[in-house]
């Protein structure tokens, strides 16, 4: 028994050291967070105090929302919906072949694989608002540059998800198709795609929902849709109209997300 007292002490000492280490980690995290807040001007109390009346002013101008012009938002809303669906179509069109190149088990060659991965990463890393500005400059104002920006940016994301789904297929049916004399292409169309179709559809539907939200922002750079109306209201300092448009967008997002959710449930 006397030996165990020393053992207890050793165990407790070890426990204390672990506790100190945890405290150190926590302290470091707090320090980094504090520094980040300080750098971004969060500790400047004066600005918060002065902002009070301005926020009050804005809020009072936003309420009540002014839905007087609702009829003129219908077409832009339809445009936005069309943009999100067309953007998804563009994304699928480029994602599928790229994903097949970027999945280890279907890529024709190691170099192709690396290139496809790099291209997907590149597309992901260019924000759609930048793509939007570029395409507005290239093809002019309207829904078209919005669709191109949404679609191409999404290729980076969707293609990566597709590739990952393809890499995780059950290899057994692939072997069966090969044994029956199927070509590489037939193995893809008849053994891989049937397996991953639900996952691909899931990602695609989610992306359509996302496109609806994102296309509202794209309107700001002149890429059509309801975002364009939002920007116009902001420029004219009609905050009651801004809040009305925001509420309309919110309602539409809820509807689109609900439909998307139902669709995904059907695929399970």
């Amino acid at each position: 028994m006397s030996g165990s007292v020393a053992q207890y002490a050793a165990i407790l000492a070890q426990d204390r050291r672990a506790a100190w280490r945890h405290a150190g980690t926590l302290g470091a995290i707090l320090a980094v967070t504090g520094a980040a807040l300080w750098i971004t001007g969060f500790f400047d109390a004066q600005r918060f105090i002065e902002s009070g009346p301005a926020i009050k002013q804005l809020a009072s101008e936003m309420v009540p929302p002014n839905f007087a012009r609702w009829q003129s938002w219908l077409r832009p809303l339809l445009d936005t919906l069309a943009m999100s669906i067309a953007g998804t179509a563009v994304a699928i069109f480029f994602s599928l072949p790229l994903a097949l190149c970027a999945a280890r088990n279907t890529s024709p060659h190691r170099i192709v694989y690396e290139c496809a991965r790099a291209l997907l990463a590149l597309l992901r890393s260019v924000p759609e608002i930048i793509l939007g500005i570029l395409f507005v400059a290239a093809v002019g104002f309207g829904a078209l540059p919005g669709v191109l920006a949404l679609g191409l940016h999404s290729v980076g994301m969707v293609g990566k998800f597709y590739a990952e789904a393809i890499e995780h297929v059950d290899p057994k049916p692939l072997e069966a198709a090969r044994a029956a004399g199927a070509t590489r292409f037939q193995v893809i169309t008849h053994a891989i795609l049937p397996q991953v179709l639900p996952q691909l559809a899931d990602v695609t539907i989610y992306r359509t929902e996302y496109h609806f939200r994102a296309s509202a922002v794209l309107g700001i750079v002149g890429a059509g849709g309801i975002g364009f109306e939002l920007m116009a209201a902001l420029r004219l300092i009609k905050y009651d109209e801004v809040s009305a448009i925001l509420l309309t967008i919110l309602a539409c997002v809820v509807v689109v997300d609900t439909i998307g959710g139902r669709l995904r449930q059907l695929l399970k």
Binding site: P173, A177, A179, A180, G181, A182, Q186, T189, H190, Q195
Partner: protein
Amino acid sequence: MLTAVAAEVTYSNGTLALTATSLAIEPGRFTVLLGPSGAGKSTLLRSFNGLVQLTGGRIEVAGIGDISDSKRLRMHRRQTGMVFQQHHLIGRLNVLANVLTGRLAYHSQLRTLFGFSRAEKELALRAIDRVGLLNEALRRADELSGGQQQRVGIARALVQSPKTILADEPVASLDPATSEQVLSMLHGICRSDGLTAVVSLHQLEFARKFADRIVGLHAGKIVFDGPPSQLDENAVSAIYGNIVPAGARPIKRASIQNTPALGVAS
């Protein structure tokens, strides 16, 4: 006729799975590759349709030639149905769609993109009917029992209108009663259609029951080749080493029972 000529397989990790092996499979017979796991029977079987690539030697097919050429390999695979241990079905597709993958090699890539013709589907239904699953044709494969799934696997091989069936441990993941049913179905079909069958098994009693010829493997070498009647206790211990396999026990008991009788006779 399917011939392995000094076929040798060394896996990339350096394991010698099959030492230079020559073996001719006669047409129309039910040949069983027998051996414990790791003996190389799957490797040998899979080299017969190029699923395992040889690192030495070659596989010759009568009427086609050396199958190391990709065009000939596809031609050979088209007329060679394969049945797998774990069925290798796509769970979320129905039985009909799974069986139709057996027809892929008969069509161009572009053609198969647009689905199969009615005639092809009828051919598939006939194969499904033969394995007794016509009522399940439109059910998802993953809703079926293990035995039913393996029958779908057999139907997928049959729809190829094969000359040869390769079966890689077709009943290893089934219970004994179902195993017997599935094997006797496979055996019956091969018999009535005059198909050449090469089947790898690790159960001695099934090998004895169904095989016309048993090829015993041990540690990547053929250690026995003959009809089941010649598979005596020496041959069994050559195949399984000193470990008596589960399947060998009833046989052993039988031979013990035989010994006193022989003693009386002599």
